[in-house]
Symmetry: C2
């Protein structure tokens, strides 16, 4: 890689800001030289953790030693902080969702272009092992051609604290976990979206969604059911994926799961009808033993550059960003479409016509 | 009950017809006195099973000893067989789906009204123990007010044999298992439908659907995801139901499952963040132990009259039908709406405006 050390300031020292600080301790190229937060308690937390605390954001921007600004504030102020940093000749790493509205991201992208600075969004869940396992199954057609994907995260703890309960700063679960699950989906499936249906949940009585289900149809014929729930006391599997030759399931973050595939070209008995409630069913009976094979999930070898390393490679013009801003923009447009689809109870068909 | 013995003829001696014959052996009030089928092999099967075989349907209708006709033929001929039987002064039990089109059921209902004969559809899965367990949870608010219901059957054997592969006789899974799952849903949820979204699957290359997902929204704010699959090598739970105080799951026909409910008014620790892929999550962390209780599914006591007994009670004017024709008609209209919604990729909002 490089010999240069890049100095980074974390703006917004809450949950994600301090999490970045911890992760970056192990990074050899990026050096966290300070933090900025408007809240006194967060400044104290940063000092306790051993970081310099800037007195103002202007002071961060004026510091010629700062190469990179990492934004981990509420979502509604990402844009102004990002644009100011780019104009002050800093590169920017920004937490997700990058902005609440796609128009705001377009503005940031224009400034990044004009200032020739790099702006990269922290869509870190492209590196999640559960996702990479499914992506490998998808890319290598391990269960044949995948035609249906179900991707869920289900919690029982409601919406997490503070601003995520509020609409103005970009709260709600679609903009929180939703942006990850949709980003993973669009990163994996290389096809235009033809239909978007969505249903937001407001059962907790917040002004923002506490979860959602969306069904997305692609031009290649495949479908996806994406769900975030915060009122689920029992969890369905994290991933459930159907291919033309089998089904794959990942239960949880520990990558518990399996693959069951059809044995083609093998003579086997027809399934025997089973008693199901008040009736017999052959349709829903388990296939005969010789008809299917059960196997472990594939191992993924981590070949993608890490997020932070990729940011540095991008700055040094050595690599393309793994998280491209055009992709982030498409996900944000999809989120806007999901909001509209849920609000109007309509299927949106004009998403990918551009 | 009654002392009279009712003589029944089974028309269509295939899978369901012969299944009825077996079940009715144990019934004290209904006597299977014969069968009729247009296929030679089915007539032989009936003879082997010890049943008289009528030479023609006219002979069945002309036989004054016949009180009841049970129709278990392909769906497209239910109507003419039913109307002929009613006009010949017979009562009728009809397999599901009663007809392919709701207009046909309306015609049958008119003839039943005019002839003062009873016409009852065999929606037997209202008696399924898994369904009755969920209905008890729903009715008795065991997990609070239920606001989301997922009801699935998933097989790996494709569409079952013969005419169910074909469009004309009413094949496909929406008209097969779909009619059961939708009948159960509408029998349980007493609310108007406001939105119908649906997605049919044609992955097996048949001219009829090999499965579907539909999301139905009710006026009372609750939602339902109903799914039938025949290309699922791994099965998701049969039922997954969310209430304001907890979640219930039934895995399979053996009624394996559990209920997890929230402990209200108890002081407990906030959930601890867990590592999930590349990030920490508190939202999706398991609740602290004191926050929830796990319990067994409730036992259901079978208090509903059996299907056949209810038919006799209805004939003797001693009871209302458990399966009302107006309910069957509503389910059939819903199926028609699901077909339209899937075909046009539109959300249908005018289903229950009548």
């Amino acid at each position: 890689m490089t010999n240069k050390l890049y100095n980074l300031v974390i703006v917004g020292y809450g949950g994600m800001g301090s999490y970045h600080a911890k992760l970056l301790k192990e990074n050899q190229t990026i050096n966290v030289i300070g933090t900025f937060d408007i809240l006194e308690e967060r400044r104290i937390a940063a000092l306790v953790d051993g970081y310099k605390v800037y007195e103002s954001y202007e002071a961060v921007l004026a510091d010629k030693n700062v190469d990179l600004v990492l934004i981990a504030t509420p979502n509604d102020v990402h844009k102004e902080i990002a644009i100011a940093a780019l104009n002050a000749n800093k590169h920017v790493i920004c937490e997700k969702p990058v902005t609440i509205y796609s128009e705001d991201l377009k503005e940031i992208m224009k400034v990044a272009e004009a200032t020739q600075r790099k702006f990269v969004v922290h869509q870190n869940r492209r590196w999640d092992k559960d996702f990479l396992t499914i992506k490998k199954i998808y890319d290598e057609t391990i269960i044949g051609n995948v035609f249906h994907i179900e991707s869920r995260v289900q919690g029982a703890n409601g919406i997490p604290g503070d601003w995520r309960h509020l609409k103005a700063p970009g709260g709600g679960m679609l903009l929180d976990w939703g942006v990850h699950l949709l980003d993973q989906l669009l990163f994996m499936v290389d096809s235009k979206i033809t239909n978007v249906y969505a249903n937001l949940s407001y059962v907790l009585g917040d002004e923002v969604d506490d979860g959602f289900q969306t069904i997305i149809t692609f031009e290649n014929g495949s479908t996806a059911l994406i769900e975030v729930g915060t009122t689920n006391f029992i969890q369905l599997p994290r991933w459930y994926v159907k291919g033309t030759a089998g089904t794959a399931v990942i239960e949880d973050w520990n990558i518990t799961g399996k693959i069951v595939t059809q044995n083609f070209g093998v003579d086997f008995e027809a399934p025997k009808p089973i008693q199901a409630g008040q009736g017999l069913t052959k349709t829903m009976a388990p296939p005969s033993e010789a008809a299917v094979s059960t196997s472990d999930l594939p191992e993924v070898d981590q070949t993608m550059e890490s997020f932070y390393d990729n940011v540095i490679s991008v700055i040094e013009e050595k690599a393309e960003p793994i998280v491209k801003n055009t992709e982030v923009l498409r996900v944000l447009r999809l989120i806007e479409t999901i909001f509209k689809a849920a609000e109007t109870n309509e299927v949106f068909k004009d998403f990918d016509t551009y």
